[in-house]
Structure formats: structure tokens, C-alpha cells
Amino acid sequence: MSQTILAVSLTFAQVCLAIAMALAALRMSRGPRAQDRVLALDTLYVNSMLLLMVFGIRTGKDIYFEASLVIGMLGFVATVALAKFLMRGEVIE
């Protein structure tokens, strides 16, 4: 019983997050300006982090938590560096 409930809601969550990632990728390929593409990349990072956490619940393994922590940190650093590049034209002055 609880397995069925969990399987349905996990599948729902995975489908939702996959659609969200597809929409963010669409915006990244279409986005009119560079800041739209950077924001789409940030959204893609957050969505993939959440998708990995859902994978962790589905498989019951701990390693997905560490992977999603690493993805969150990389997303933060990447977005800050790209925003700095858009503002100044170079990352490290």
C-alpha cells in the first residue's frame, strides 16, 4: 500500500521536474538576451538538484544527497561568475 502511494507520487514528481527542466532548456536555447540564458541555466541547476533528491528517495541511497549538494554549489558559483561577466566583461579583475 505505502509502496504504491510512494511510487505514484515519485513518478509524478519526476515527470514534473523533467517537464520543468525541458522548459528551462527551451528558454535557454530561445532566450532573447544573455541574462535570460544565465537565469535559465540557474533554473536548470536547481531543477536537476531537486530531481537528484527525488532519485535519492526512490532508490533509498545516500549518495544522491551528496551529488545534489555538489550540483547546488556548482550552480551558485557558475551563476555568480556569469553575472559578474555580464556586468563587467571579465570575471576576475
Binding site: 500500500m1 505505502s2 509502496q3 504504491t4 502511494i5 510512494l6 511510487a7 505514484v8 507520487s9 515519485l10 509524478f12 514528481a13 519526476q14 514534473c16 521536474l17 517537464i19 520543468a20 527542466m21 522548459l23 528551462a24 527551451l26 528558454r27 538576451r33 544573455a34 541574462q35 535570460d36 544565465v38 537565469l39 535559465a40 540557474d42 533554473t43 536547481v46 531543477n47 538538484m49 531537486l50 533528491m53 527525488v54 535519492g56 528517495i57 526512490r58 532508490t59 533509498g60 544527497f65 545534489s68 549538494l69 547546488g72 554549489m73 551558485f76 551563476t79 555568480v80 553575472a83 559578474k84 555580464l86 556586468m87
Partner: protein, 130 residues
């Protein structure tokens, strides 16, 4: 359904609670990303994905914490690290990105954006106390 064999001991109330938080979190993330792909201007679009970083992350982190705590019969709360980290870093990145976009729009003289007010220039309009 062999992949879910580790969850066979999970009581039904915990499964319902975990499912509720999963559905809320992923649904709000999807709504935020739909808004991100549909809103017309960048300054409106920058608001939408924060739905995924606030309640989307919160819901899924809470679902994961409840699931592993009930299964291991001891408190497992290390997922809260991700919640704290995302909550702290999202305003920083989006603020930097919004300021970069504003700088670019002003440098191009985009008429949709207000010009910068210099601090020495006296402000127009009635002064305070008159």
C-alpha cells in the same frame, strides 16, 4: 516495483506525508518554471524560478527528511543543508543577475528602464516637511 523494496516497512501515514510534500514541491517547481518560460520581460521572469528555490526545495527536502527519518528510526536531517544553502545563495545570485541586466539595459539606453539617479543631483518633488 522491485526498486522500491527498501520502502516496504514504511507506514502508510509516512508514505502519505512524503507523497504530499513531494507533490507540493515538484508541482510548485513546475509552476515556477512555466512562469519563467511564459512571462514577457526579463525583470518579470526573474521572479518566477524562485518558487522552485523556496517551496520547491523546501517541500522535497522535507519529504526526503521524513522518509529517511521514518525508515532509519532515528533523526536524519542532513538534507537541511541543501535547504539552508539554497535559501542563502538564491537572493545573492538573482540580485547580482538583476543588477547586471540593469547595467546592460542602461548602457544600451533601453527606454523601458529608468535612468540612474546620481546622488548629488537634488531630487525633484516636494521636500519633506513642507
Amino acid at each position: 516495483m522491485n526498486i522500491m523494496d527498501h520502502a516496504v516497512d514504511l507506514p502508510v501515514w509516512a508514505a502519505l506525508l512524503v507523497s504530499f510534500f513531494l507533490v507540493v514541491g515538484s508541482g510548485l517547481t513546475l509552476i515556477g518554471t512555466i512562469g519563467f518560460s511564459r512571462l514577457p520581460s526579463f525583470y518579470e521572469r526573474i521572479h518566477a524560478p524562485t518558487l522552485g528555490t523556496s517551496w520547491g526545495t523546501g517541500g522535497i527536502v522535507m519529504a526526503s527528511m521524513i522518509f529517511f527519518t521514518v525508515l532509519a528510526t532515528r533523526p536524519v536531517i542532513h538534507e537541511i543543508l541543501i535547504g539552508i544553502f539554497v535559501t542563502v545563495t538564491t537572493p545573492v545570485t538573482l540580485m547580482l543577475l538583476a543588477r547586471a541586466a540593469l547595467h546592460r539595459d542602461r548602457a544600451e539606453g533601453n527606454p523601458d528602464v529608468l535612468a540612474e539617479v546620481s546622488p548629488d543631483e537634488p531630487k525633484r518633488g516636494p521636500a519633506l516637511g513642507e
